[in-house]
Amino acid sequence: MNLYFLVEGKTEIEVYPKWLNHLLPDLSRVKFAKYATNNNYYLISGMGYPRLLDVTLIDSFAEINELGNYNYLILVIDADDFNEQEKIDEV
C-alpha cells in the first residue's frame, strides 16, 4: 500500500513522518513520488503558501494519475473559519 500526503504547512512536515513512524512502522518515506513501490509514502507540503487547493492539490492529482502507484491521497488542511463539512464541500 502506498500513500500520498499533501499537507498545508511547515509543522506537518516535521510531525507527520514521526507520527507515521509509530502509527504505520512498515511504511517508509520516499524522496520523490515516483520512487514509491510497496508500503511507501510520499509527503509534500504547500509550506504555508496560498493556492493549496487550486494549484497544489490539482498538481497532486496530476502526479498520482500519471504515476498510478498510490492507493490513497491524504489531504491535511485546517478548516480555519469553516466547520468540517464546509471545508470538505470546498475541497
Binding site: 520523490f32 509534500i44 507540503s45 504547500g46 509550506m47 503558501y49 498538481d59 497532486s60 496530476a62 502526479e63
Partner: protein
C-alpha cells in the same frame, strides 16, 4: 562582459563562496541569511578592486569573457590585517589608513596565456618585469592603459548593481544649464547613449529629448504593464544651482494633470527603470539585482520578469528573489540554490536537488527542500 564563474573568500571573516558557474540568467534563491546578497556584493567588490580599491583579506578567482570576447581568468588575494572593532564582510578598507593590506598574489590569464604574474615582490606583465608599483592596488587598475589590460578594465565597468533606481525621490543632475546643447550634441546615436557612462535616467531623458524610437518602445512596454498610462515624458528641470535635472512624468487616462516623478508609485517607477535599463544599458552589461520583487506590485511582477526573460540583448542577469511568482516564472534551469554551512556558502543547480522530477510547480518543489527552508545542505 560575461561572468562564467566566481569563487571568493573573505579571510578576515572566514566567509567562503565555493566556485559558482553562472548562466546568461542566474536566479539565486535560498533562505534569508545564506549569502545571496553577498554573492552580488562580491562581484561588485571585484569591480571595485579592478578600479583600485582594496579589500582586507579578500581572495578571489573569476572566469569571464571580456568585452572583446577573450577568455579570461583573474585571481588574487589581499593580505588579512586584523582590525579593531566590528567589520561587516567585504567592507572596503577604511580610509584614512596607514597600514594598507597588500596584494599577496595576482594572476591574469587571457586565452590561457599567463599575462600577469604577481607575487609579494614583483609583477611580471606579458613576460616583462614592471617597475615597482603600489602593492595594494590591483594590476588591472595599475596597468589599465596597456592595450591588453584596457579590455579587462573596461569589462569590469560593465557590472552594474541596480538597487538604487527604485527611488523616485532622487533627481540626479544631468549637466549644468550652460552645457546642455553641448551635451545633447555629443550623443548622436542610440549606441552612443547606450555606451555612455550616463545614468539610466539620463539616458532615458536623452532618448526622449532626441525623439529616438526606442523611447516609444519603452513607453509601449510600460503601457502594456500599466494600461491606465497613456504617455510618458522626461522634462528638464532647472535647479537653483543652475543645473539641469531630468524628471519623469506620466499621463494617465482620465486624469487631467501629469503625474510627476516624486508622485509616481514606487512599483511603477521601478518597473519603468527596469525596462529602461533593459533597452538602454550597454551591450555586454552584467546586471545585478538584489531582491528583484522589492516595490514591484503584483500587477507588474510577472510582466517585468517576462521582459527580462524575453530580452534579446546581449546581457547577463544575476538576480536574487524570494518571491514565488518570480521564482516560478524564471525556469528552474536558471536557479542556483544558495546554502550555507557555517561560513561556507555554496550555490548549487536546482536539478541536483531533484527539482523537475515532479508534476508540482517548481516553487512548490523548492519550498519543500530543506536546503531552501533551512538554508543548509550537505
Amino acid at each position: 562582459m560575461y561572468i562564467k564563474s566566481l569563487m571568493y573568500q573573505d579571510k578576515s571573516t572566514n566567509w567562503k563562496l565555493e566556485s559558482v558557474p553562472f548562466k546568461p540568467l542566474t536566479l539565486l534563491v535560498g533562505a534569508s541569511g545564506v549569502g545571496k546578497t553577498q554573492i552580488l556584493k562580491a562581484l561588485l567588490n571585484l569591480k571595485n578592486i579592478s578600479h583600485g580599491e582594496l579589500f582586507n583579506g579578500f581572495k578571489w578567482e573569476i572566469e569571464f569573457l571580456s568585452n572583446k570576447g577573450e577568455d579570461c581568468k583573474w585571481c588574487g588575494e589581499f593580505e588579512s590585517i586584523v582590525t579593531s572593532g566590528t567589520r561587516f564582510p567585504f567592507e572596503p578598507f577604511p580610509e584614512p589608513q596607514w597600514n594598507y593590506p597588500n596584494i599577496y598574489f595576482e594572476n591574469l590569464f587571457i586565452n590561457d596565456k599567463h599575462i600577469i604574474k604577481r607575487d609579494a615582490k614583483e609583477i611580471i606583465f606579458n613576460g616583462q618585469k614592471t617597475v615597482q608599483l603600489p602593492q595594494e592596488k590591483s594590476t588591472i587598475y595599475l596597468l589599465n592603459e596597456e592595450s591588453l589590460i584596457k579590455d579587462i578594465f573596461e569589462s569590469f565597468e560593465k557590472i552594474v548593481f541596480n538597487n538604487s533606481f527604485n527611488d523616485s525621490n532622487q533627481f540626479p543632475v544631468f549637466c549644468q544649464a550652460d552645457d546642455i546643447e553641448l551635451k545633447l550634441n555629443r550623443y548622436d546615436s542610440i549606441e552612443s547613449i547606450r555606451n555612455s557612462k550616463e545614468t539610466i535616467r539620463n539616458k532615458f531623458y536623452l532618448c526622449c529629448k532626441k525623439n529616438y524610437p526606442i523611447f516609444n518602445e519603452i513607453e509601449n512596454l510600460f503601457i502594456d504593464i500599466f494600461p491606465s498610462v497613456e504617455k510618458i515624458t522626461v522634462d528638464a528641470i532647472s535647479s537653483i544651482f543652475n543645473s539641469i535635472i531630468p524628471s519623469i512624468a506620466i499621463k494617465e487616462k482620465g486624469v487631467l494633470d501629469w503625474i510627476h516623478q516624486n508622485q509616481i508609485s514606487s512599483g511603477m517607477f521601478r518597473s519603468l527603470m527596469h525596462i529602461a535599463e533593459l533597452y538602454l544599458c550597454a551591450d555586454d552589461t552584467v546586471i545585478l539585482i538584489d531582491e528583484f520583487e522589492n516595490s514591484l506590485g503584483i500587477n507588474c511582477i510577472n510582466q517585468v520578469t517576462r521582459s527580462i526573460l524575453d530580452s534579446e540583448r546581449n546581457l547577463q542577469f544575476i538576480i536574487t528573489s524570494h518571491h514565488p511568482y518570480i521564482i516560478n516564472d524564471v525556469g528552474f534551469e536558471h536557479w542556483k540554490i544558495v546554502t550555507r554551512n557555517g561560513s561556507v556558502v555554496k550555490a548549487i543547480d536546482a536539478e541536483k536537488f531533484g527539482i523537475g522530477r515532479s508534476k508540482h510547480q517548481a516553487f512548490t518543489q523548492l519550498a519543500n527542500l530543506a536546503a531552501f527552508s533551512e538554508g543548509t545542505a550537505n
